[in-house]
Amino acid sequence: MANKPKPDELLSNINYKPPRTQWTDTPVEFKKGYYCYAGRPNNLEYISLPHGRKWSSTDDDWQLVDNWKEIFLEGMENLLKKFRSFRLFMDICVRCGACADKCHFFIGTGDPKNMPVLRAELLRSIYRRYFTISGKLGKIAGARDLTEDVFKELWYYSYQCTECRRCSVFCPYGIDTAEITMMARELINLLGCCTDWISGPLANCYRTGNHLGLQPHTIKSNFEYMVDDLEEFTGVRVEPTFNRKGAELLFVTPSADFFAEPGMFTCMGYLLLFHKLGLDYTWSTYASEGGNFGLFTSNEMMKRINSKIYAEAKRLGVKWILGGECGHMWRVLHQYMDTMNGPADFLEEPVSPITGTKFENAKSTKMVHITEFTADLIKNGKLKFDKSRNDHIIPTFHDSCNTSRGMGLFEEPRYVINSVCNQFHEMPENTIREQTFCCGSGSGLNAGEIEELRLLGGLPRANAVKYVKEKNGVNMLSCICAIDRAVLPPLVDYWVGDVDVCGVHELVGNALIMEEGEKREIDLRGEPLPGMEEKEEED
């Protein structure tokens, strides 16, 4: 007994204070729940990424090739020559700190190295050391040698950034920190250090056309289940076609929409809408993935994965392409596809076959966002809705980082939601539109092993949801992104509770009147519609 500490001694031994060393001198500690698993060699080989090997991110020895440093610095030099923006972003930061508290990972984890300025500084310190004259002075000039520890630190924090670009909104110089992360990841990939969650889906996508590795017959049979469910819920039998040559439109959406809940409910919404319109469109089992994890790997990989969309449009001979609800898919389509794999001069300038509206914003890419398409239909009075079918739903809307900051798509989804729901509430101003907070799982961070990190990264978003739940009784978080639909349910479950997640076209599908006088007692989730039975009796 005498050797045991007294309670008071125990308490006084607790050191509340973290180390007070400079960031350059505080070695990185890989915290459980914060780091991704290492990519497997067979997947790396499949997508031609070099130096694949069996390794673990917690190993002391990462088995880097002997000349790893040379490869890294040569790669960096190439990127600096190739992308003027990269050199500019390395040079011009004045460390004003405007970005520091804008990152959801910093706000959630409280780790200063997740301040965008400091995360970028991990790479800048190497840039200064090897690519500037003043860097020869070393630490005093903010430079440091590239060592294995420095590389590990860069790796650790490069996968704690979702490339959401919220910080760049506040940077007075317009530095896009997401692009710095992208460059860091390109360098990481030169050394075979891609994560499992990114390289696995990439290999699947390259092999079969989608992240889940679904083959054509599996995709078709999944649709058959969905079509049966839809008929049971709505009485309408839809007849989607696959790989049909000569269709007017090709429709591309993330594969999660036809494989995982709640994305499948959104997909049912698309199916009902297209059926109602009698749209001449086809699905593709080859271009069966809107998502593009190449964006999280390297620009060459992004180009390679993206190329199937135009290739399939050409093969099928469609006029233009319609795209579903997805976040980073649209960043690639909107900002990079045209210059990477375009010009798609074999396609026509998109014109809605129903309203005749020319989508001039998509004149060059030839690809239209589904909410633009649906908003135009509603604006032209082509659709009828029974909004009361969504009366049990009080939605708010989460702007996905990529569709908001990447393409400025703010009004269309809101217009659609307000057309199909009676009770919509916005979250606070500094958490939506261009200032939207990330879900915490974008850019390939939807890995199970980093649940803690993702929940903390999603805290600012969930905090705003909690506010509108308490203030306005919001019970549904709607969004237009497949990653959001996958990760927001556990996020709101942990932080908020009793709030569900849906895609915008699930709400459309619920409210859409397919035939005059139709009776709908079940929603697209197969749940009874509250009040509908009584209403019919009254009628």
Partner: protein, 165 residues
């Protein structure tokens, strides 16, 4: 003079010191931000702590309403259960209040011979700690449940299709 009166008089000083010491469990740069950023949506963690400890302090002095206490504690602990803290460090913020009060009120307690009242008050702080253990465990259990259900979800659709579940 009752200890509650003294605590009420010194409320702002105690809460400020309690807040500052809790922030010292974070790196200096982070603590600076959590103090400076007043917007509750821009700084949810700082907001939960400052609102929470004030609410807890009021409850310690007034009613010890279990539901209110649990709510304030939950808002703080839900974050710290995920952040990079051991369980003792995650919940240590409760005990910091004892340290603050002992330091701030040492003279007054001695002069007014309020040791017994102090002990009674500190027992109430210990009650907070007990409630905190439950909340902390609930949060961690929730985290593990989420992880488990995420893993299940990966295979559930395939199993449903095959009529296994």
């Amino acid at each position: 003079m009752k200890i509650e009166h003294i605590l009420l008089e010194k409320k702002q000083v105690i809460i400020k010191k309690w807040f500052d010491l809790i922030l010292e469990t974070y790196p200096a740069e982070t603590a600076k931000f959590m103090k400076a950023q007043r917007n509750r949506f821009g700084n949810p963690v700082g907001h939960a702590i400052s609102e929470g400890i004030e609410g807890l302090f009021d409850e310690l002095l007034q009613g010890m309403d279990h539901d209110k206490i649990a709510l304030f504690l939950d808002n703080i602990i839900r974050v710290r259960a995920l952040q990079d803290f051991t369980p003792s460090k995650a919940l240590g913020f409760i005990f910091i209040l004892k340290k603050v009060i002992r330091e701030e009120l040492a003279k007054k307690i001695r002069d007014n011979k309020l040791f017994e009242e102090l002990m009674a008050f500190e027992s109430r702080v210990d009650d907070l700690a007990q409630i905190s253990f439950d909340i902390y465990m609930k949060c961690r259990e929730k985290l593990y449940k989420l992880k488990a259900s995420e893993a299940k979800k990966l295979t559930s659709i395939i199993m449903q299709r095959a009529n296994i579940i």
